[in-house]
Every structure is written in C-alpha cells, then in structure tokens.
C-alpha cells in the first residue's frame, strides 16, 4: 500500500480510504459537473459583463468590510468567552454561535426587525438620519451576522489551545493588559485569527439568504454575486453557471491561499 508510505505508519484501515474517496467525490463531482456545463466560448464575455463585474466588485468590497467588522466584534467576544468565566457564559456562546445553524433567511428576518425601518433600532436610526434598509451597509450587516460565529469559534479555539500562561508571564514582567493583548495574546493566536478571518470572508462571499431578505437586490448597491447568480438563473443559465464558477474560483483562491491546517494554530513550542 504505497498510499501509506511517506512519513510513516498512519494507523488508518484501508477501507477508510475508500469511504474518504467517496466523500471527496461527493464534494468534487458537482463542481466537475458544473465546470462541464460552462459555455467556454462565452465564458469570458459572461463573467466580464457589466452586471457580473459590478456584482463581483460589490461582493469583494462588502465581504472585506464584514470581515473587518467580524474582527472588530469577534476578537473581544472570543477573548471574553475563552478567558474570563462569568455567569451565563455558556448561554452567550450558544447565542453567538446560533447563526451557524440558523437558516440565513431567518437571520435576514431577524435583522429586518432590528435594523429595518420599523425595527427595534431602525426607528431610532431613521430619526438620526441613518437608513440601513436597501443600502450596502445592510449587506455588510447581513454578512457579518452569518460570518461572525466562524471567527469567534476559530479564535476561541486558538485562545484555549494557547492557554494563558504566556499572558501571566507577560503581566509579571510588568506589561499592562493592553500591552499583553497587543504584544502577546494576539500574536500568539494570529494563525487562528487569520483562519477565522478567512472563513468569515468566505462565508460573507457566499451569503445569500439573509442579504436577499434584509438588504434587497439592486445592481451596484446590494446585488452581490450570489444574488446576481440567483437572478441570472431566471433567464440565462449559461451566465449563472459562469458566475457560479467565478464564485467558486474566488472562494477556492481565498481559502486555499490563506487557510492553514488547524494544527498550525498552536504556538510553536520551545524544544525541551
């Protein structure tokens, strides 16, 4: 079995490879089928059409913005969840992770009743002259809502793996909490933070349901790539397939280039 060669004994029974291959095929085959459906002569014109490029640009911009927002909100959340035990912590974690299992449409409805014109905060925002509905900000909010748990989960895991021994040492060396966070904690969990950010970006890029429900769909303002695909599918299957492939390519590029193996999130240890 040359599959087992390499660095050494893996301890994996042979039949596992067969099922793993089936699992890989299950994911890969639909992608292959999609690639096979692409109208190649028309591919470049299809993906470089004005609506397509506008949607791609909007998707990249909003995903970048929501990733930034995820980091801004998610880092403190992960720190609080990983470091300081307090009553209701489990409950808070459960609620923060809720968007992971919630159908995105439900997220969209919830956001609507929060930031919408008639919503909980929306009414006050409207009075303050801020209108969220049908704006690009609404897209960013919807994406952040669904992507935030990915960042929190990754980062909390990295924080727990790293432990707080280094922070304790840093404090006894005279570093204030802010300095410890900036110079020790964050650098230690940087791989975890990076993979969390990448996952958040990828999730934002693919966001559809919450955006459709909450933000609407207008070219250049709220119609991101997934919404454009959904719409193109109505009339032009070739365009939908071409754009789907474009979205897959962007996602693969982002995830493949920057997502590290989970193990690499642990800090390297001094050789003993």
């Amino acid at each position: 079995m040359n599959r087992r060669s390499g660095t050494g004994y893996t301890g994996i029974p042979a039949w596992i490879y067969a099922i793993a291959a089936a699992g890989a095929l299950f994911v890969l085959l639909p992608l292959v089928a999609m690639v096979a459906k692409v109208n190649w002569p028309e591919f470049i014109p299809l993906i470089t059409s004005d609506p397509s490029l506008t949607a791609l640009g909007l998707s990249l911009r909003t995903s970048a913005a929501s990733t930034a927002l995820c980091i801004l909100l998610g880092v403190p959340l992960a720190l609080v969840l990983a470091r300081s035990p307090f009553p209701g912590q489990r409950l808070l974690r459960a609620f923060v992770l809720l968007p992971l299992v919630l159908p995105p449409v439900v997220g969209g409805i919830a956001l609507l009743y929060t930031f919408g014109r008639q919503g909980l905060l929306g009414r006050s925002l409207e009075l303050a002259g801020i209108q969220i509905a049908f704006s690009t900000a609404a897209v960013v909010l919807a994406q952040t809502f669904v992507a935030l748990p990915f960042l929190v989960v990754s980062l909390e895991g990295a924080l727990r793996t790293a432990g707080n021994k280094y922070e304790a040492v840093a404090a006894t060396l005279g570093a204030r909490p802010g300095t410890v966070l900036r110079r020790v904690t964050i650098p230690l969990v940087l791989p975890g933070l990076a993979s969390g950010a990448v996952l958040s970006f990828a999730r934002s890029l693919g966001e559809f349901g919450a955006t459709l429900t909450f933000a609407g769909s207008l070219q250049g303002v709220t119609r991101t790539l997934p919404l454009e695909i959904y719409l193109q599918r109505e009339t032009d299957a070739d365009a939908a397939v071409a754009l789907s492939l474009l979205l897959v390519a962007v996602a693969v590029a982002v995830v493949g280039l920057s997502y590290r193996r989970p193990g690499s999130a642990a800090p390297e240890r001094a050789a003993q």
Partner: protein, 274 residues
Amino acid sequence: MTVGRRHVAALLAAGALIVGVAACAAGSSGASASSTAESSAAGADGTAKPTGNITVFAAASLKATFTELAGDFEANNPGTKITLNFAGSSDLVTQITQGAPADVFASADTKNMAKLADAKLVDGTPRNFATNVLEIAVLPTNPASIHSFADLAKPGVKVVVCAPQVPCGAATDTVEKATGTTLAPVSEESSVTDVLGKVTSGEADAGLVYVTDVKTAGDRVKGIPFAESDKAVNTYPIATVGTSKNKDLAQAFIAAVTDSEGKKVLNDAGFGTP
C-alpha cells in the same frame, strides 16, 4: 445554483424512475400510487373517462387556484390522482428538460412555454387560460399616499419591483416604457414573495406585483390598480408535456382548467380571461 437544482431534480427523477421500474417489474396491478406510467384510456367499461395519476407542474402564482382545481377534478373524476408541483416557471422548465416526470405544464408566461416547446417537450399547441396584470401593493395605511403609477416616481418614495429577468419585472419594464415614467427602485427582487415581504415589513413604501399576488397576500397589503397596467398583460399558457404517459388524463385536466368552472375559480383569484 442552477446546476445544484438540476442535480437534485435529476436525482429525484432517477429515484422516481427506479421506484416506477420496480413497480412495473413486480407486475403490480390496479392503481399504484407510485407509478405515473399507467394509462387506462381504454377502460374495461368502454367509456372514455380517463383514470390514473398525473403530475402537474404549475407556476408558483397558481398555487391556490390549482390546488382548488385539482381537488375539484379528483372529486368529479373518481380514480384519478393529481400530484402538484409549484415553482418558478423557469425552474419548472429546467426540471422538465432534466427529466422530471411532468404530465402538464402551466407557465406564468409564454416565454417559458416557448422554451419547453423549443426542447420539443410540448404536446400539441399550448392554450392560454388566464391573464394577470400588475398592481401597486402598499401597506393598508398607505403611508406614502400612493394613488397612481406616476406617484411611484415621486422623489423619496421607496419602490421595490421585480428584476427585469423575472416575468413581473419584465412587465414592469414594459409599463415604464409605455408610459414614459422611469422608476428608481430601491431594490429589484427576484421573486414576488420578496417584493411583498419588503412592503409588508414596512421597508418599502410600495411594490409592483400581480393583482393575484395582492389578493393572495390578503389583509396585509392594499392593492392599487392603475390604468397603465393594460400595457403589460401577462398570459398564462398550459400544455401537455410531450413525455407524458397519460395524455388523456392530462388533456382532461387542461379542459377542466379552461372550462367555465375553471374560469370562475381563476377569476375569483384575480386572474383575467384571455
């Protein structure tokens, strides 16, 4: 997304096929609920009354009316069973061309029926059985005081319409061109449901949807008819699918939809007569 759905449809079709084949192989007699392949046009009693099962693929906007019509049909024709499948017309065309077992196709526009005909999957000539026109949907309180199509173009009014790629959006485009009024919608949704959702939640001041959609929404919205809507009359065609195994029953159902009883049910729901 298209491809994903196609695959699901193909899988479902494959599954149905396997079940069907198994039922045939077992030599089952009588009305097997799992098989759409049974034809009993030449019934033992000698009458031409069709029996058996058919599957009707109908546009989502026909959900209420076709559910009622199918129930009536089954009651009037014992021994028949109508299975209904509702979705967007273009989705349905995709499903049928991918091999989904449909006997009747009722489209929300002639364009999608033409697509099916191009695929050589229409038996005979499609019959137009209903029309639908646009109406302005507002909250019952009508907060932005919309009374005409021209009001929609007033500055500050938040209008949500269907995207031009979907039938109601194409109709909106036609009305805009015919009247010379250009709308600046805050959103172009890909379905009527999404347009109505934005209106009922109060996000938008007004939405442009079909008369029948306003009726279906009930008390949640108020419909404001406008004269210019006759510039874009949407026609609903219905036809037997070429691959149907029970074309007699399919024809009988189409006849029931287009007769006076059928017209009444459709008119009650807001549809017009072509």
